[in-house]
């Protein structure tokens, strides 16, 4: 690896050198190695490519690159052939030699491996596939192009240029002002203007000049994985953002950095660790960064799997080695945070935006998004947002769109609509403290303030699509149980109140709901919101509020008619076999754990309802759609 860079000039000339040494016509097989594709066997696939390249005597000619997540996880493992940019999806081990021979050597396109839309139309290039075409990727733009374990790849695309600019041309105050003027709002949930936070932290008194700069990579919202993907796919972007932040917030002084990251993300921890090590070796971290006065390093701190540790004060307690319990925030963490010193905490995606804002300018950033932030940082939502589009949608994956894109655009244009042509019911945003948004709001322009207006919130950007087979009472129950489990237990209202909410909603799910339960849920929910210390308790009734508001009739059906229209709540459903469709193939009878399906070969089967435990196995194994639920 190269020696420590002594100045910004050395950095820029190294960048030029790397750029010039890269042949744009170089043949590259690029394999996605994000968590999704790895789960589909991308590692083995990459090994197969390596040995196939060798086997065909192409070592010097064809490069193999392992990249971070491309975002289209649904179609993994993904492979892109450069320089043509041919995009192959669901690539299997058997396809490897064919790709090398036909695609790489002969320049042909293998039709079978291309993405085909529902109408059968195929697409050769990644950028034309509707899933990508309808996005505006600025943060994720390079995930598919660089090998996250090689700092040269990041430098080759202009990485750390923003840092050089800051050190050469800008005073720390100017950097804070630029971030404020850009209207960048925190991507971790609350949407607090980052520049405002930076300025307060900068202004706070620190006895010996120490200020902490922390990256929140706890990503606890279930159904969200954009932070993980950024750290796995482009870790230097986040690191560069933090170094710029350290300069802006902590200079002159002694800024210190931490990344607090979930234990459940081993790959992200590994990639981030490698990236930090490389940045240190090159003099981008450590003492006198690029020959400037800035001394700054970043330590990784692993969380232990507690949702509440994503909350700012709990996170800081956890870094100090204490139990991750939130504390009252009448003294702000920007003044007294980690070790009672001024601390600036931002989310991964927030940090990742910083180098782009500095590099391309405030005007460029404010041209994307909604509202007007020229004299009020709360005046709109600027830039893009990455959403994790998951659930009952055709194209699951990470989606980056400008703030203000409509739900319909995201779910239908990019997401390709609902799986199996079923009917859309709701989309849940904002994680456990968010809400469910119904069909009539599909044209909502998604930004921080619009989402709050309809009773949901941005959260970290999870977007879980639900169809007619999702029960809204069950979903509300799911989130209540989640929050009850994750409550740290400090406040009685949150600890005991959530438990009571769970009991009530469970009895509704079990068909034992009583008249008055809905009012009880609502009242108790409001009390918890009012009397709890941290945002976990304060927002806990949100999933209840929104489902009660938009899907009240489903609750009422559960209570009065003992009916679950989605066919989810076990106590209210029964499985039966449609005699018309049943071919008497015997499979379900063989697989039923209760042995409660009977019938002769080639004759319609029947279920003994008294013994059936409603496990759904019969429905899964029947090839003829003969098992139905009512």
């Amino acid at each position: 690896m190269a020696k420590r860079l002594q100045s910004t000039k050395e950095l820029l000339s190294l960048q030029e050198k790397i750029g010039a040494s890269r042949d744009p016509e170089q043949k590259v097989v690029s394999v996605c190695a994000g968590t999704g594709c790895c789960a589909y066997g991308a590692k083995k696939l990459a090994e197969a490519f390596a040995s196939s390249i060798e086997g065909h005597g192409l070592e010097g000619e064809v490069a193999l690159r392992l990249t971070g997540c491309h975002g289209f996880c649904e179609r993994g493992p993904l492979v892109v052939i450069h320089p043509e940019g041919t995009f192959y999806q669901r690539v299997q081990l058997d396809d490897v030699d064919e790709i090398i021979e036909k695609s790489v050597q002969a320049g042909e396109v293998i039709e079978r491996l291309l993405y085909a839309d529902a109408g059968g139309k195929t697409y050769e290039h990644e950028k034309d596939v509707p899933f990508y075409k309808n996005q505006q990727r600025i943060l994720l733009a390079n995930n598919g192009l660089i090998d996250p374990t090689r700092i040269e790849d990041y430098l080759a695309i202009g990485g750390y240029r923003a840092l050089a600019k800051v050190l050469d041309e800008m005073e720390p105050e100017e950097v804070c002002a630029a971030v404020k003027a850009s209207g960048l709002r925190g991507r971790g949930g609350g949407g607090f203007p980052a520049g405002v936070k930076w300025e307060s932290c900068r202004a706070a008194h620190s006895p010996d000049g120490v200020r902490y700069v922390i990256c929140n990579a706890d990503e606890g919202d279930p159904g969200a994985f954009m932070d993980r993907s950024l750290m796995e796919g482009n870790p230097h972007l986040v690191i560069e953002g933090m170094i710029i932040g350290a300069y802006a917030i902590g200079m002159p002084g002694k800024p210190k950095g931490y990344v607090y990251i979930r234990n459940e993300y081993p790959l992200a921890v590994e990639r981030l660790g490698i990236a930090l090590e490389q940045a240190r070796e090159m003099g981008l971290l450590g003492e006198k960064i690029l020959g400037s006065e800035l001394d700054f390093d970043i330590r990784i701190n692993k969380g232990g799997g507690a949702f509440v540790c994503g909350e700012s004060t709990a996170l800081m307690a956890s870094i100090e080695g204490e139990v991750g319990e939130p504390r009252a925030k009448h003294i702000h963490t920007v003044e007294s945070g980690l070790h009672d010193l001024p601390t600036n905490l931002n989310n991964v995606e927030t940090w990742a935006n910083v180098p782009l804002i500095i590099d391309r300018g405030v005007d460029w950033f404010t041209s994307i998004g909604t509202g007007d932030v020229s004299d009020n940082p709360w005046g709109g939502s600027k830039g893009t947002k990455i959403f994790a589009l998951v659930g009952k949608v055709n194209n699951t994956g990470l989606v980056e769109v400008p703030m203000g894109a409509t739900l319909r655009h995201i779910i239908y244009e990019i997401g390709g609509g609902i799986i199996g042509g079923k009917k859309f019911k709701a989309v849940q945003t904002g994680g456990p403290s968010g809400g469910c948004i119904p069909e009539e709001k599909l044209d909502l322009e998604v930004d921080f303030d619009r989402l709050t207006e309809v009773g949901s919130m941005m959260g970290s950007g999870g977007m879980i699509v639900m169809d007619e087979s999702t029960c809204m009472v069950d979903i509300a129950g799911y989130f209540l149980h989640f929050l009850a489990d994750e409550s740290c237990g400090k406040c009685v209202t949150c600890r005991e109140g959530l438990k009571q909410l769970c009991i009530i909603i469970d009895r509704i799910r079990e068909g034992k709901g009583r008249e008055g339960d809905l009012t009880l849920l609502q009242d108790l929910g409001e009390t918890i919101a009012e009397a709890s210390l941290c945002a976990l308790g304060q927002t806990a009734p949100n999933p209840l509020r929104s489902t009660l508001k938009y899907f009240r009739e489903e609750y009422e059906e559960h209570i009065r008619n003992k009916k679950c229209r989605a066919g989810v709540c076990k106590a209210l459903i029964r499985y039966s076999i449609d005699a018309e469709k049943c071919t008497g193939c015997l499979i379900c009878a063989r697989k039923c754990p209760q042995e409660c399906i009977s019938g002769e070969k080639k004759k319609p089967h029947v279920i003994d309802q008294d013994k059936c435990i409603k496990c759904g196995v019969c429905m899964d194994v029947c090839k003829y759609d003969a098992v139905c639920v009512e």
Partner: protein, 154 residues
């Protein structure tokens, strides 16, 4: 854990009480759980009371105070996996192996755990068996994934 090994872990973290979480993680990585006796030695050597160690060990879901099974099966319970049927999978494994979520079979062969979300929602519902991800799981596929284990158990 033998003494030398434990000391290596403690030294790796400079015997710093504020690194307790990381120390516990390293112990669990070696031993698969947090043996009481090891915690006692940690307490003595870095000068942290047992009560604090226990409060950390019980607060974070990553820790187990009981020995875990030879195999560990984790079912993702994220929202995306939930709407695609994850709860049924937990029930199925529970039934087939006679074990509850968070517990270990009597023969110590299998621990069944759940996790809030591993961020691989495109593959949901998702089961992780001994670190290996199995995506888009149906009851039939699950049976296949667990087949060898079932055989091992006899």
């Amino acid at each position: 854990m033998d003494d030398a090994k434990l000391n290596v872990i403690l030294d790796r973290h400079d015997r710093d009480p504020s690194a307790l979480l990381a120390i516990l993680m390293d112990i669990q990585k070696e031993e698969n759980y947090l043996p009481r006796e090891d915690l006692g030695r940690v307490s003595e050597r870095i000068g942290v009371p047992m009560s604090r160690i226990y409060s950390l060990a019980t607060f974070f879901s990553a820790f187990s105070l009981k020995p875990r099974g030879k195999h560990i099966c984790t079912v993702c319970m994220g929202t995306a996996c939930h709407v695609r049927g994850a709860p049924k999978l937990v029930e199925q494994i529970g039934r087939d192996f006679d074990v509850k979520a968070g517990e270990t079979t009597a023969d110590m062969k299998l621990t069944l755990e759940t996790v809030n979300c591993v961020g691989a929602c495109a593959l949901g519902p998702l089961v992780i068996l001994d670190g290996e991800y199995h995506g888009n799981i149906t009851p039939t596929k699950l049976e296949r994934v667990m087949k060898n284990l079932k055989k091992e158990q006899g």
